[in-house]
Amino acid sequence: MQVLDKTQVEAVSKALGEPGWLLEKRLKALEAFARLPYPSKKDENWRYTDLSEAPLEQEIETPKGLRLSRDQLPEPVRRRLERTDVSGFLVFVGPDLVYAEVPEELRQKGLVFTSLAEALKTHPEKVQSALFQGVYTEDKFAAENSAFFTHGAFLYVPAGLEVEKPLGVFKVLLEGGKASAGRSLLFLEDNAKAAYIEEYLSLDLPPTLHLSATEMVLRPGARLRHAHVQTFGEGVWHFHRQRALLERDSGLNDLVVNLGGAYARSEVASELLGPGSESEMLGLYFGHGRQQFDHYTLQHHTEHHTRSDLLYKGAVKDEARAVFSGLIKLEKGAQKTDAYQANRNLLLSPTARVDSIPQLEIGANDVRCTHGSTTAPVDEMQLFYLQSRGLPRGLAQELLVKAHLADVLSRIPLKALRAHIEAIIEEKVRI
């Protein structure tokens, strides 16, 4: 069995034909990975999370060079492709980019949507300038990803190009038992506009570690809609970290969805670095069984006239757990800033649990800032009302869960994605 050491980092880097600078960065990340202990409940940001059953220190799954035709794509992906909003997409089976479809018309306009490995050859300066700017060695798992990642997607939208239809990545895990580490790097030049959906799928698997990182660079005036949708099967432990760097007058609309897996943790940061930049951050989660979903968010305002608006809504049933920990941080220079944060949770069973910790750190005085959090069981009055019209209790509850999540869903203008998420929610209510 391989171990998570220098030999392996070098092997991965060599197999991907990477330049020297990248190997160096990987090795630096490896140092951090080796130095940092695995988090425990003693760490403030992990105090609600039990990793004792997590498949840590798993061997990293490396690419096999698998390529598939569209008809050969794994069933879960094909089913998603029947109804999707995306016009161009990459499909990863484990670490292998098995299929890609990118509209020729966009390519001709200078858009690049390909694997990170390919982009390193065709657009080395772009990749070098942006890779690891957002996610590098922030914690043990980020460092592990940065040292060992085996695959990734790269999206580059040239200045002024507005891409209406979303582009997307479908990543599916077919075999479990090994760790999978991948990244997305999204680079939007001045006034570029795009939408990008990452979807993560699998069947039920033995314990499997999944690491993902998404880095977004929004140059002045760029607009990006980004969705991270995790619907893994049982057994997957998903550690996701993302960070958006928002320059002047740029705008991000971000969505994080956690519905699958054994455990999922999303650390989501928006860095409002330029005046006039804004970030809308939406989150949606619904846990059942013994699932746990942790969301750690950061709205970091460093410049004046910036705006962020966060709404995370979730529901938990059975013995499921969820954590929301959100920080709004306003630096001294962040005058005339609007920052909002709300987390709303619905408890569907007495053994389900949510810990919600909204936090503010305000270093500026001329700001508008609110935050709030609620966690409550289903409203018995509402249930009674719906039941009194003939709806069985289960169906009434299903309606109320969907209703609870509706205002997040209604803010997703991606019709097929919305229908997909709604269908999963329905299924989960009935389990």
Binding site: F384, L386, Q387, S388, R389, G390, P392, R393, L400, A406
Partner: protein, 250 residues
């Protein structure tokens, strides 16, 4: 036995007994009024008929066409044809009226209801209520005025077509125009296959919904039953008059 019958019903909430032996019969095909002063237990009776879990029934029976429904859940009662128009309809943000009504109709009929069939029914109901189709895509009672909420209750009544309806102070807080609309809805339901109990504090609504019988509740039981003239008499003389009369009788 086509009737809604309440037999010696006793019920409490938080240890306080509210209903103290209610006896009442509403035959199918008739509309009865249930009047009484505040605190008499009228609304409690309505909620208990619908199966509100907040209340504990201590004794008695509720017979729907001869079948005791006390052990049934609220949704089972509804599917058997009982309907309560709430005094305070509940706001359910995130659930549209259209979606909810269609699900309720499907539950009631026990089968899929096609879009065309559903719309035919709803449009007819909207016409009777002189209501705008736009309301159907609004969330259930969210941000509705008192009048809109009551109209929405009657819309549900018309679409779901229950066998027995209990209208819990549907008239309270309504101006005369809204009251007429509500009455139009109830009157549209009248016929040999529909029975209703109109709970009200005031006689006013009975000018628009002519009751076949009037019952009066006081202190947790029905103390008087009569024809429509009883409502007028109460309007003229007040509940105290009846209270005295009941005392004398006892």
């Amino acid at each position: 036995m086509s009737q809604l019958e309440i037999r010696d019903l006793w019920a409490s909430i938080d240890g306080e007994t509210i209903l103290k032996g209610v006896n009442l019969v509403v035959p199918k095909g008739e509309v009865h009024a249930l009047m009484g002063p505040n605190g008499a237990g009228k609304s409690t009776l309505g909620k208990i008929l619908a199966g509100d879990p907040e209340y504990t029934v201590e004794r008695g029976e509720i017979l729907l066409d001869g079948e005791n429904i006390l052990e049934l859940s609220p949704d089972e009662r509804a599917r058997k044809g009982l309907f309560l128009a709430f005094q305070y309809p509940v706001e359910v943000p995130g659930v549209t009226i259209a979606n909810f009504l269609r699900l309720a109709l499907q539950a009631k009929l026990g089968r899929e209801v096609g879009v065309a069939e559903f719309w035919t029914k709803v449009k007819k109901a909207l016409e009777i209520l002189d209501w705008d189709e736009g309301y159907l895509s609004r969330y259930l009672n969210e941000g509705f005025s008192g009048g809109e909420k009551k109209r929405n209750e009657i819309l549900q009544l018309l679409v779901l077509e229950p066998t027995y309806a209990v209208l819990d102070e549907t008239d309270s807080g309504l101006d005369i125009d809204a009251l007429k609309v509500v009455a139009r809805g109830v009157n549209a339901m009248r016929g040999p296959n529909f029975g209703a109990l109109v709970i009200t504090h005031y006689q006013r609504i009975l000018n628009y919904i002519q009751p076949d019988k009037v019952h009066v509740m006081m202190d947790g039981r029905v103390v008087a039953t009569g024809g429509p003239e009883l409502a007028l008499e109460l309007e003229a003389k007040g509940y105290e008059w009846l209270r005295e009369k009941v005392k004398e009788g006892a």
